[in-house]
């Protein structure tokens, strides 16, 4: 029987090049190796102080662009604050919020809604700064050309189309468009077959271009950059743009100052961001003219709308 032979220890006539390995030796060796591995990894787990400032961002754009963006931010920040700065890419919106709560990320570039979620779950978190364009951010409704719809401000025409949002808790790809749809008398969850969630602004564009979804909505900044880059399929046309609302901002975690050993971290971050000279590479990468201070109350409306639509609990 094969199984029995496998388990059998070295037989009496063992004549291999290697000395016969008894079961006891094998088990002991394996045990020692495992023990060594466990103790080897069981090094000091306590955070050594001062630790680096860990920066993250919601994945609302091309990860490669984000990597470049935050590479530049990390370098500039590290130079200005004289602390080590690390950028950690995150794959989804909720993970960014969770990692901010667990303290794995200290300073995160959140959208309006995710910022509110993160602040409510992390007592002591403080908003630091936002871009000038975030004070009046907009979303763009797009339709497939085959629908024959001409650009208009009347959102009710969208009610009968197969419609996709971006990510579930995106402010510009879900929350605010849903709100403006409801204001216009369209049930934001009532599209034929239910609304889709493409997961990202780029996926929304591709799905509307394919015609699987006849209409969708995305971040106006992404729409402009893709149109200027010529990356938008001609089958996708702009239908309407929402009124402005307050969106993206930097949120600082409560334990960041202590961990990095910089007591006035928030003020120094604000000085750094608002003091960036016009034309600095960081501003250019962020597509902004300047960074301005932001208060938690600036996002009260987002919080209210989020509660209303059941996206903030």
């Amino acid at each position: 029987m094969g199984a029995r032979r496998v388990a059998r220890s070295g037989g009496p006539e063992a004549q291999s090049l290697l000395p016969p390995l008894s079961r006891r030796a094998l088990l002991a060796g394996a045990g020692v190796a495992l023990a060594a591995a466990v103790t080897g990894c069981g090094g000091p787990a306590a955070p050594t102080s001062p630790g680096p400032l860990r920066v993250g961002a919601i994945p609302d754009q091309d990860p490669e662009v984000l990597q470049r963006l935050y590479g530049a931010v990390a370098d500039a920040l590290s130079g200005a604050l004289d602390v080590e700065v690390e950028y950690t890419p995150v794959t989804d919106y909720a993970a960014a919020v969770s990692l901010f709560r667990t303290g794995d990320l200290d300073l995160v570039w959140f959208g309006g809604l995710t910022g509110v979620q993160a602040r409510l779950q992390t007592p002591g978190a403080e908003p630091v700064a936002q871009r000038d364009i975030d004070q009046a951010f907009t979303s763009v409704f797009v339709v497939n050309a085959a629908t024959g719809l001409a650009p208009s401000d009347d959102l009710t025409a969208l009610a009968l189309l197969r419609f996709t949002y971006g990510s579930e808790t995106s402010t510009s790809g879900r929350l605010m468009p849903a709100w403006f749809l409801r204001e216009a008398g369209v049930d934001p969850q009532g599209f034929p077959g239910g609304p889709g969630f493409s997961g990202s602004h780029d996926a929304t564009l591709a799905l509307v271009a394919s015609g699987s979804y006849q209409a969708g909505v995305l971040n106006a900044q992404v729409w402009r950059s893709r149109t200027e880059g010529g990356a938008v399929d001609p089958a996708v046309v702009r239908y309407a743009e929402t009124p402005p609302y307050s969106d993206y901002h930097w949120l600082l975690g409560p334990r960041a100052a202590e961990r990095t050993g910089v007591p006035d971290l928030r003020d120094r971050l604000l000085d750094f961001f608002s003091g960036l000279p016009a034309g600095s590479p960081v501003l250019e990468l962020f597509g902004a003219g300047a960074f301005v201070p932001v208060q938690a109350s600036d996002h009260d409306r987002i919080e209210e709308i989020g509660r209303d639509l059941g996206l903030v609990s």
């Binding site: 496998v6 394996a30 080897g40 990894c41 794959t91 779950q121 579930e168 699987s212």
Partner: protein, 535 residues
């Protein structure tokens, strides 16, 4: 031996088995119901306008991103994936060995209620997909590498416990009884009377788990645990198909190495060389695997301390406080009911697609016994390579690209899962075909039957049993995978879970998770009964 001879001597039964007949009709009805639910009989399901988008995905397969920098990133990511797979499997085996002692019939003896309860407890970790475990653990452990290791180790540990217990229970009891009769205690008798004869099966299954863990580690990467899946998810989010394909090829290579090595070792276990010495290849495999696990722990910087740190306790309290008691409002329960139906339909369509494909491809994919023409060998290698690619592209990617050419609904998710499952089932079916008795077919061919006839009468009747059993087994897996496809947007309970997790409505998420576990358990039960009817 006598039992086998008795069975062979029994006169063949030519009656139609009523039970199988009932199962067959039932399966056909469920399939029709699922296809109707997927909208196949009502209106358009195909969207020809999206062929350009689909074409962009398909044509990128021929021009994967090959710049040195990206390949470097992929190579480093592959190491992370391997490390997660190895460390996760090691944990699963430890948990499985401990769990097997708790759920084996040997432990419980005649106390059937206790045995059933212990098995029921295992259904909870087993019913949730690794990705779901990953998402939950991120909320407690943050970026700690334990997230990936536990997300593989916990569900795999539960499956392993069940399989290990079954293997040990099926071993001939002579030695065990003799030891007991000679006065040995139960643990000692089990250790020396049951474990040694079961060791080959246990080792073989452990290696199989390691192969599976590689694919799981990739899926975990897609929800953020790092490694190849993580790179794939990042490229996928911005629809950089060239990079997605590079990651898929890297993953295929990894799976191929794991498959080939695992298969070689398992073959060796099944038919050891005729010598009473310890097989050096097996010794080296076990030693190598132990070293690999040690390296993985070191490479991932796993620290047991972070599992019991203050922060972990605080986060666990936070999540637990929000998640208990589960939400029970009527609206949520109704939605869960509706989506559970979607989920079942999706999994049924997926399995039907996979089974159809597997039956068609099993012949060409199987390595023919004896000599064959070079054309036949090339076709075989191509089909096997195609199946490898089908299972290397993660189901969420299939779901999005199929959504380009299909109307939104249950169908894109179902087909995505079907295509992925075909990759797995096709290989299993091919292996089952290879292991069949070659004589009926040879006899038919020698009598002048054409190849199609020889296949229909000499292969199909023999292969149907094992292939259907595999399909039923994959159905259990598919129902868990529907949650994964849904998590990334294709509907069903997974989509609901994704939305509850995104809005941090933990109480509702708990209810959905409970529904998923119950659904998986029910499918497990039905599939088990159906397989019993096949035996």
């Amino acid at each position: 031996m006598t039992a086998v001879l008795d069975r062979a001597a029994a006169p063949p039964v030519l009656r139609r088995d009523r039970r199988r007949w009932a199962w067959g009709v039932g399966a056909a009805a469920v399939l029709l119901w699922s296809l109707a639910g997927a909208g196949l009989f009502s209106g358009d399901v195909v969207n020809p306008g999206g062929t350009a988008q689909f074409g962009r995905f398909a044509s990128a397969a021929l021009s994967p991103a090959l710049d040195a920098q990206f390949l470097g990133v992929l190579a480093r990511s592959a190491l992370v994936t391997v490390a997660y797979a190895a460390a996760g499997t090691a944990l699963a085996l430890l948990l499985g060995a401990a769990g097997a002692a708790l759920v084996s019939r040997t432990t419980w003896g005649r106390r059937r209620a206790g045995w059933l309860a212990a098995r029921g407890v295992l259904a909870v970790p087993r019913g949730l997909h690794e990705a779901v475990w990953g998402l939950l653990l991120v909320n407690v452990l943050g970026l700690d590498p334990w997230v990936g290791v536990l997300a593989i180790g916990l569900p795999y540990g539960a499956v392993t416990a069940k399989v290990f217990a079954d293997l040990v229970d099926e071993v001939p009891r002579g030695a065990y009884r003799a030891l007991r009769a000679a006065g040995a205690g139960r643990p000692a008798a089990a250790l020396y009377g049951l474990l040694p004869p079961a060791a080959g099966g246990l080792l073989s299954y452990a290696l199989y788990r390691l192969e599976c863990a590689v694919r799981s580690a990739v899926v975990l990467g897609m929800v953020g645990a790092g490694g190849l899946g993580y790179q794939l998810a990042l490229s996928f989010a911005s629809l950089r198909w060239e990079q997605v394909w590079s990651a898929v090829y890297a993953l295929s290579l990894l799976c191929l190495v794991a498959d080939v090595a695992g298969r070689a070792v398992r073959r060796r276990l099944a038919a050891p060389p005729p010598s009473s010495r310890r097989d050096p290849v097996l010794t080296a495999t076990v030693a190598g695997t132990v070293v690999l696990v040690g390296w993985s722990c070191w490479y991932l910087a796993l620290s047991p301390a972070s599992l019991v740190s203050e922060r972990t306790a605080a986060q666990l309290a936070h999540v637990w406080g929000a998640a208990w008691p589960p939400a029970t409002d009527g609206d949520l329960l109704r939605t869960i009911g509706v989506l559970a139906v979607d989920t079942v339909q999706m999994s049924v369509v997926a399995i039907a697609v996979a089974l159809l494909g597997a039956v068609l491809l099993a012949g060409p994919a199987a390595r023919p016994a004896g000599r064959s023409s070079s054309g036949r060998r090339v076709v075989g290698a191509l089909v096997r390579g195609g199946l490898l690619l089908l299972r290397a592209v993660p189901p969420p990617v299939w779901a999005l690209v199929l959504l380009f050419v299909l109307m939104p609904g249950v169908l894109p998710g179902a087909l995505a899962l079907g295509v992925y499952t075909l990759g797995v089932l096709g290989r299993l079916a091919a292996e089952a075909t290879e292991e069949l008795d070659p004589r009926p077919r040879a006899a038919l061919t020698a009598l002048g039957a054409r190849p199609v006839g020889a296949w229909l009468y000499g292969v199909l009747p023999l292969a149907a049993g094992p292939v259907l059993a595999y399909a039923l087994y994959r159905w259990e897996v598919a129902i868990r995978d529907t949650v994964l496809v849904g998590l990334l947007g294709a509907g069903g309970l997974g989509a609901l879970l994704a939305s509850e997790l995104a809005t941090f409505d933990w109480a509702a998420a708990t209810t959905v998770l409970a529904a998923v576990v119950v659904l998986t358990w029910l499918v497990d039960l039905v599939s088990d009964r159906a397989r019993a009817a096949l035996r």
